[in-house]
Structures are given as structure tokens and as C-alpha cells.
Symmetry: D2
Subunit: 337 residues, 4 copies
């Protein structure tokens, strides 16, 4: 197909604006072609500074736009179904924020429509599958080096919740991620769910029971549980501890999977600078590009290059003599002050 | 200026190829316009699959190329000076891998030329400044919440070194990063350097003394030391421990800065999902774009969207009844197997 | 009362022998007066090297022995009840290994007998209450600085189990510690228990279902759960994560309580050398005493004292001069080689 | 010799009082026979509640006392020499707090006197050698599994210093521990010492330069350095990082040695409950003994034993049925409230 994805982003709210910024500033091979919002002013604001992007008031217009060859759906869930059917009709790649649709029945009709089409066109926005630690735990499970996976303990904790966050949303908007994560980790469907309501925090809003303890079983009998605690105050945490036949693995507390097996606890050491500083290189080059596009230069300067050369010369000398060796620098041009 | 950076990458070796891949697949707002290598075949291999890029055998050709408006220099250091002068003459943004030039005298001539030009055009490739933990430590120092910075302990450890890695390279190619890091952290120039040679490892190649202990002082008397140990076998580590008047900070062992102050040890908790999963969102969308450009769809499918909806419905029901609630799914279309 | 406890240890099996060794070598203010075992040879072996201790074949004899003023019960549980009643009749301090008795009904008769006596004479062997981290978590709960305790997640993992370790023993011998810990932490009685049986490990012996997930609720509705996993292979772990209204606390993974609250994760820093090295001082002095009783001296020698003095003199000199200062030592007497 | 050590403690100041308490309450096989202090009132206060102990005003009296068969010296250092000679003359076991004597010359005369005696009678109070982590690092070095030890980085940090703590004391009272630790770890004598004075903290008292960076080399060329920082405010820390040919080991931050080798970071997992709860057992039994000697009983009560039995019965039932099972308790006798 074309060498660039020309994306119509439907919905310019929080997630939509975030994706627009991502597509324009960080994603290679794709461009924002159109932004749709019922509030046209919000769509227009969202395309400011994006050459070649148009603001539209309806998904139809965007999908009829010949310049658009992909769609990212970031509207409230109840609007997804209609847009999904129209986009499937155009047979273009779709990235749809979760939930696919608000209920299983309507979601099934989308599934059946895509199945009828005969090729996958829809990716759902369960981004955790793209998190390095999630991928690493999935890898440990599939490689099988620790034996069978037996138990999964999940913690999903938010500092607080937006106004009007109901008990239902606690499942539909929060635990939904763990439902997908458990399916992703085990490669199995979930067979049953149970919820325990215990002592509630004083910090929960009226009508919301927080925390809750969700008990889950998969087809093969893997036991999982989720402490969903959305007014935990201390910060944000999404973590999992997995019990295997031959070890225990923790993810979600930084530093990559933390493994206990064969009498050892710990993790894998970064093998080299590419792994350690790969992101820094990306950030460095992107920073240089962004500044250059503004006609500027930031970051380490030629003076920094010179000064470190002088240090190296002193260092090599010191290496030979063992003596403390002074580093002498020329006068610093004003340009670098 | 133009809305895209059209970059000539000079040098298609390891770092050059890495930057070409970065510019083409991960960096937004820039494109590879030309790749230069004395070995033209290597340049041609490097531009495979990059529409609009040309392979050239000399930096001159690239800099004379009207389609080029930026240059990334990734040749061996002894070739930098000549290319830098030519690029400065064209007054275009330059990203130059370290070292700026192989010695302080020649580096100074580059500095003076850019100063004469009167505007910064050169960024040097000290990528550590773009690492999140380095930036965080720099932030802690400038914010001053822990009082004055007094001592910096650096460890720079590699599993092993390429053949022919000499004692001089140990300073010029490895410790050079700490020289810049110490200057970056303190905002001061380095005043003196001393090197201690102790018991060497059996794993060091002939003629290389490893490890070495480098002692550094800054203008204001901050004491720094670097254990440079390039055949450490265990893995790769670049870490710093900073002693302040009112606390101690460690970076370089994952999990962000680790601070000890006021009787507490620990770090900052991720405040929200944007911080925790921001990268996952980038990876997710890039994966969707890359697959779409290949005419494919990967990642969570519509079936995943449907199955999690069914879990949510069971969860909300279970929340009300407290009973174990079965999750019932429709037959799975072959498309999703 | 007397200035020394003269203890009769009933049962010279694994726990009994361990307590005998403890009383004789590490506990101050108590001595082993008698060891009772139906296997008299085992009792006699147990008192070897303990001056003034006698080996006996029945608890009666021990309790009739005027030299005995305290009793430690370490027999199998089904023998406890009879010994407890006899010891209560003598009104002496009793340390009884858990379980108090094998079932609630008989345990209640012991409770009623002691209540009738009108003063406490029995301490039960729930040793976790004396673990520094357990005490610290209890302290955090009672101090209330993190608000109300809401949820307790326990992991109880053993590498493997002795032959004949049944499903019942998994509750009676293992989870019993968590039952007491939950009561200790919350200061409440337990209101209900539920057990989930999921996917079992291949490493569990015939007839034992491992792991199991035990769900517990306290009087006030605190939710607790225990992953009891006794063939976990990787090692031994007894850990708890407590969710409060204003923070999360982990214990059981060394380093003291790990707290997350107010956007920070971490722990308390050892305030001084007494806390850091208090145990080392105890071990040091005990080692000196034990060696002296054997007519020997171990540990740091006078030579060590001399050599470090020489280092200090060089150090103070170096402090003044800033120069590298040699440490010169006299010839080392053979005694110290 | 006798079956109990009857110890004369010389000096009833801070360390002396601490050792008296230790010998009386925590050390088995030794008793305080005499306490000596030039301030007799302080000696008398120190023996309060210690049956059979006498307070004396001179070391001579204590050493002439036939009831005394061992001596612990805890006076200021300048008084050690005279007492050491008298105690050597009596040929009894001596535990002498560091320093052995205030200077190398006098320490050497003590060494020579003991060597003349022909048997070791003196142990010097370098208690770090008895710390579990120090012993573990020494073990790793001697076992040789990580190859040769090459570099040792020490941090010695105190929150603050007592009034009148001079630059000399910073070496003689603080760094002296690292001098011994480096000798203990390497099994070598120290060959040279150098001190770097950098940027001082505002928190140091007049006339004291803090922090200091002490550079040390051993006979075989092992490089060591110590950051001695005695007004570090944040807390107390004594830590070491050792670089080996095949790995890196950290001690001093709890949790036992932290090892990096072969691409892994981490530590050893507690193998069983004896290792995890051994100290808790000691504390438990000592607590029972101490309470019993006061005529009391503390700790888990018979009621705790009963209540946990009831939980176990409910648990075993729940295990069979899978249902939530209530725990029913009898009325609680007042004795347990």
C-alpha cells in the first residue's frame, strides 16, 4: 500500500488528543490526515500545526475522504459500533480504543462482521500487551522454563477516581485491563468471575465500594485474583505476581521481571549500551530534529565536545604518570554561555 | 524552515546504520535523504527500503545535494573535523557522534569556527543527557532540595571489549562519557584528573590495564571518581551515586533515582498511567502503523474486545450477587485462531 | 521467684532439640533442668554437655521434679492437652508449641482451665509475632498513620513438604500461622474462611492439592487471602502485603517494611550503629564467651589491633599532606599466623 | 575451665553499660562478676539487679578478685595498655574494645607481650567481622567463585557527630573500621593510604572537614576507597561494593549480599523457616523467660491457641466444600481481654 498511513482520528478528547500528538510527534510512517469531533472547534484546535490535516464534524466525512487510509477511534465507547461498521466497509486498518463496544452482544456483531470480511482490520487498544514487562512475563510463560503457570495475583491501584466513577466502571474501565492481561498471559479464555466486597476506604466517593477483590478462573483452572483499589492515594500501581511450578515472577514495579527460582531472587542484567541507552538515543535524535525544525540547536554543544577532549588528554597523561593532572581550557566563546 | 528534516547520514557503520534505522522507523519529522560511506556498497545496503534516499561515496556530494538540509556524522572520529567545517559552511543542523574531533586542539578550532558563525549548529552525541535517570539526577541537583552536591561515585562497566581496545581508548571512548556526565551534573568544568592502576583482571586483553580508578575534581572542589571496568563479564552497568549535604541519590540501576534523605530510602511512585504506560502506547501505535503499512493487523483483536466485554458483564453481575459467575462466549470464528 | 528458670523440655524431637540448644547456648536467665522423651535414649542424647540436666521418660516425673520451675512442651500436638493440665496444676510458666491442642473443643477446655486458675500461665508458640517485620507491621497498623487497614495478601511458600503432608496439614500446620498473623495484625477474630483449589503443581505428592488460595474475612470485614504453596521449589517465603487507606506496606522480603504512601516508595533508614550492628555485638561477645569456655581465643587479634593503629597513623598523616602515605608494620609474630 | 565465664567489665560508660546489659540479658554461659569504674557510683548503678556482681573502683581489684576469670575492657583507649598487661599477666580471656591502644608503638608492645606469653588471650572489638553480611562477603572472596577480588568501594556515613569530633577521630574512630574490614575481606595488610579533601558540607562542625575520600591499597594491589561522611544527615550507612573478576557484590543495604554475575542480579533466597525465623524463636523464648522471671506470661495466649484451632477446623471444612465457612467461637473469658 502507500508508504505512509494517513490516519483519521475520531474523537479529539483526552485520549484522542494524546493519540494525535503521538502520531504527529513520535510515530514514524503515519500522519494525521483528519481529526473528527462533534465539537468542530475542538477538532480544529487539535490539528493546529499539523500540515495537511483537516478538521471534520463527522466520521462519515472522514471515511469518505480519499486522503484517509486508516482510522483511529477514540470516541466514547457507545459511538464505536457505528464507526467500526463504516470503517470495516471501507476495509481500512482500524485502531479502536477499548472497549470495542459497551456490551458483549454488540461486540459480537462486530466480530461477526469482521469474520465475514475474512481478514483482520481491527486492533483493540489494550496497550499493556505492548509494555516491555508484560511482554517479558508472557515470554517466560510461553518459554516454559519455570514450568506451568498456576496462580496470578494482580494489583490495580489508582490514587483516585474522576467524579461519577461508578462500581460498574470499576469493572468495565479498570478490571477490563486485567481481564485482557490474564487472557494474554495464559492464552486462555476466562471461565468465571467472583467479587468480594470488604472494608471500604473512607476515600471512596459516595456509592462506590473500594477496594474490591475480584476472583478469576481460566479454562484450565489457573486461579487469578485482582485487588482493584482506585482510591489508593499513594500513587499508581499495576503489578502482577505469577506463581509457577518452579518459580515466582513479579512485574510492574520497574526494573523488569523479578524472578525467584532455584534458591535465587533477582533479574536479568542489561547486556549492553543499546539496551540501556536505546531510548536515550531515540530521545536524543528526536530532540535534535525537533529543535532543528524550529531552526535551533540544543543538547551537548561543540564546547562540550572540546572540553571533554581536554579532559581525555589529561586523563591519558594521568594514566601514564599516576599524578594529578590539571585540565586547561581555552577561553569560552560567548555563544556557549 | 521546511516541515521535514532531510538528513544525510555520513558513515554507515554500526552507529551509522543504527541512526539510519532510528531516523526511518522511529523518528518523526525527519527522513533519511542520503547515506554516505567510502564503501558505496555499504551505503547502498543501508538505504534499502527507504524511499527517496540516495547512496553516496563522499560527504561533499551529500552536502552539495540540494535535497539535504541536515547532517548526522557517524564516521570514525579522525574524519569529523573536515566534514564539520563543510557542514558549518552550509549552515545546516549537525548531529555529530562523539568525539567532536580526536584531540582538544582540533576541537577548539571547530568551536571557534562555530563561534565565528555566531549561531549554534552542532550537537554532540552525548546521549546520556537524554536518559530519564540522568535528567532526573540533574534536576535534583538544580532544584537544590538536598543541599549542595559534594561527591559523585561513578561505575562504568562493560562485559568485555572489542579487540584492540587500548588503555587510551578506555579514557577516550569510555570515561569520556563520565567526563561529560560530571560536567552535566555539576554544571562545572573539570579541574583535574588522576588515575589509579590496581590489581588487573585476568580477563583483560594483552596491554590493557583493567579496571582503573579515575579521580576527578571540578572547579568548585566536587570530588568524583570513576571505576572504569571494561571486562567485568557480569553485564553492562553505568551507575552513579551522588552524596549531597542532605541525602544520597543513586541512578543507573533501574526504577528511577533512588534517594536516601531524612531517615527514608526509596523513590518516587509513578503518579499515573500516562507515566507508567506512555511508552507502551507509543509502541502500540507504532506496531499498528508498521503492520498496516504491510497490509496486516496484529495486536489485540476484535475477538479480544468481545471476550473482555463478556468478562465485564459477568464481573458486574458478580459484583452484585457475590456469587461465582460463569463467563459464556459465542463460538470463536476461525479468523481469530 | 528464683533468679533462673529451670526448664523441663517435653519432647526431644526436631523442635524440642532446637529449643534445648537455644535454652543452653543462646538464652540468658534460663537453664535446661530436664528433658523428657518416651525414647529415653533420645532424651539422654539431648542433655549431653548440659551440666545439671536430667533425662526422663515421662512428663509426670519432670513436673514432680522440685528442680523444675518451668516447662516447654514440644511433643506432637495430640499429647499437649494432658501435659498442659498437669503443668497448670503446678501453676508454672508454660511455653507450648502450636497447636495448643489438635482441635478447638479440647483447646477450649484448656482455655477454661487457665481462666479458672485466674492467671495466665500458657504462652503458645506463634513465633512470628516476635519477628521484627511482623512487629513493625503491627506497629504501623496500631499507630494508624496510614489510615484503616483494608486488605491483607499473604504468601506462604515452602520449597517442598515432608512425606505424608496431607491437605489437612496444609491448613493445620501451615495456614494456622497466617490465621494467627491475621488475628495479630488486625486485633480481630476471623469470621469466615473459604478455599479455592486451582491448577495443581506437578511437584505435589499424591493426594495433596497444591497450591491453594485461602480467602479470609475478619469481624470488621477486612479481606485477607493466603496463597499457600508448599512445593514451590524456589525457596522459602512468608510475606504479607497490606493495603491501607493511605498506603501499601510489604513485609517478608528482608530490609524491613517497604512502604508506599504519598507518592513515595521505600523504607526507614537504620538510624545508627546500635540498630545496624546490635546483633553483631551479641554474636561477637557470644563467640568470645564460647571460645573462652573452650580455653581459646578467636576473632580479631592483638595483631589486628596493632596493624589498624598503624593504618590510622598513616591516615592522619595522609590527611594532612594529601600524599600517598606508606603503612609500615613490624615483623608479625608466629602466634598470629 | 569453669562452666561459666565470670566477667569483669572495666569501664561503665556507654559501651561498657551496653556490654554489661548484653552479658546479663542476652549472652549465655557468661555472667557479670564485677564492674569497674573510676566513678564508683556509676559502677554501682551498673550492677543493679545483677545478683553476685560487685562494683569496684580499680581494674587491679577486679583482676585480683578470685571470682573473676575473664575481662572485658571498655574504658577510653588511653587506659587500655596498662589493663591489658595486667590481664595478660593473669592469663585470662580478654575482650578489648577498639582501639587496642591509641598508637601503633604501644599496640606493638602488647602484641609482643602476648606473643611472649605464647597463646592468644586478646580479642579486639572489631564487631563488623561478626555481621552476617560481612561474613558472607568474606565467604564469597575465599570461595573464589567470582574470581579475584579487584576493587572495594566503601561508604561509611553517620547522620552527625558528637561535639569535639576532630579530623583525627574521623580516621581513628571511624575509618579504623574500614581499615580492619579491608584487611578482613582481603586477608592482606594495607600498603598505603591517601586522603582527598573536597567540597565540605555546611553541616560539619567548625574545624572538621567532612566528607573525605580515603584511598587505600593492599599488599597485592587491591584498590579500595572509603567515602567517610559523618554529617550525612539522612541516616546511618555502612556499605561495601566489591568488584571481582567475574561479578560485583554489594553488602550493607539489608537483604544479604546482592550479587551481579553471569547476566543476573540478585541474591540468595532464604532456604527455610529456621533461617527466616531463627531469630524470632530466640526472641520468643527469651521473652517468655524474662516474663516468667517476673512472674508473668506474655505473648500468644491459650485463647490464641483455641481461636486458631477453630479457624483450622473451618478451613479444613472449607477445603472440602469450597463454600465460605463461618468460624464460631465460644465466649472469651475475661482473663484474655
Amino acid at each position: 500500500m502507500t508508504e505512509k498511513l494517513r490516519v483519521a482520528v475520531i474523537g479529539a478528547g483526552r485520549m484522542g488528543a494524546d493519540h494525535i500528538n503521538r502520531l504527529h510527534h513520535r510515530i514514524s510512517g503515519a500522519e494525521v490526515a483528519a481529526v473528527v469531533d462533534i465539537d468542530l472547534a475542538r477538532a480544529e484546535a487539535a490539528i493546529k500545526g499539523i500540515p495537511g490535516a483537516v478538521a471534520l464534524a463527522s466520521a462519515e466525512e472522514a471515511l469518505d475522504n480519499g486522503d484517509v487510509n486508516a482510522v483511529l477511534i477514540a470516541t466514547p465507547g457507545f459511538l464505536h459500533e457505528d464507526i467500526l461498521f463504516k470503517a470495516l466497509a471501507r476495509d481500512i486498518p482500524i485502531l479502536c480504543e477499548k472497549p470495542l463496544t459497551p456490551d458483549a452482544a454488540s461486540a459480537l456483531t462486530v466480530v461477526q462482521a469482521e469474520a465475514k470480511l475474512g481478514r483482520k482490520r481491527i486492533q483493540v487498544g489494550f496497550m499493556r500487551r505492548f509494555d516491555a514487562e508484560y511482554a517479558a512475563l508472557r515470554g517466560i510463560i510461553t518459554e516454559g522454563g519455570l514450568g506451568e503457570l498456576l496462580v496470578l495475583h494482580h494489583q490495580h491501584r489508582n490514587p483516585d477516581t474522576p467524579a461519577g466513577f461508578t462500581n460498574e466502571m470499576l469493572i468495565n474501565d479498570s478490571v477490563v485491563h486485567e481481564f485482557d492481561a490474564i487472557r494474554f498471559f495464559t492464552g486462555e479464555e476466562i471461565a468465571s468471575v467472583q467479587v468480594r466486597l470488604g472494608k471500604p476506604t473512607r476515600n471512596a466517593p459516595e456509592g462506590q465500594h473500594d477496594p474490591q477483590h475480584v476472583l478469576i478462573e481460566t479454562e484450565s483452572g489457573v486461579l487469578a485474583d485482582v485487588e482493584i483499589y482506585v482510591n489508593a492515594r499513594f500513587g499508581y500501581e499495576v503489578a502482577t505476581q505469577a506463581s509457577f511450578e518452579d518459580g515466582i515472577v513479579n512485574i510492574g514495579n520497574d526494573g523488569g521481571p523479578y524472578v525467584r527460582t532455584q534458591g535465587r531472587w533477582g533479574g536479568r542484567i542489561t547486556p549492553g549500551f543499546e539496551e540501556r541507552f536505546g531510548t536515550a538515543y531515540d530521545v536524543e535524535v528526536q530532540a535534535w530534529v525537533d529543535a532543528a525544525l524550529r531552526g535551533e540547536i540544543g543538547g551537548p554543544s561543540a564546547w562540550d565536545g572540546y572540553a571533554t577532549s581536554a579532559c581525555c588528554e589529561a586523563g591519558v597523561e594521568a594514566q601514564k604518570t599516576g599524578a594529578k593532572t590539571a585540565v586547561v581550557l581555552a577561553a569560552k566563546p560567548d555563544l556557549y554561555n
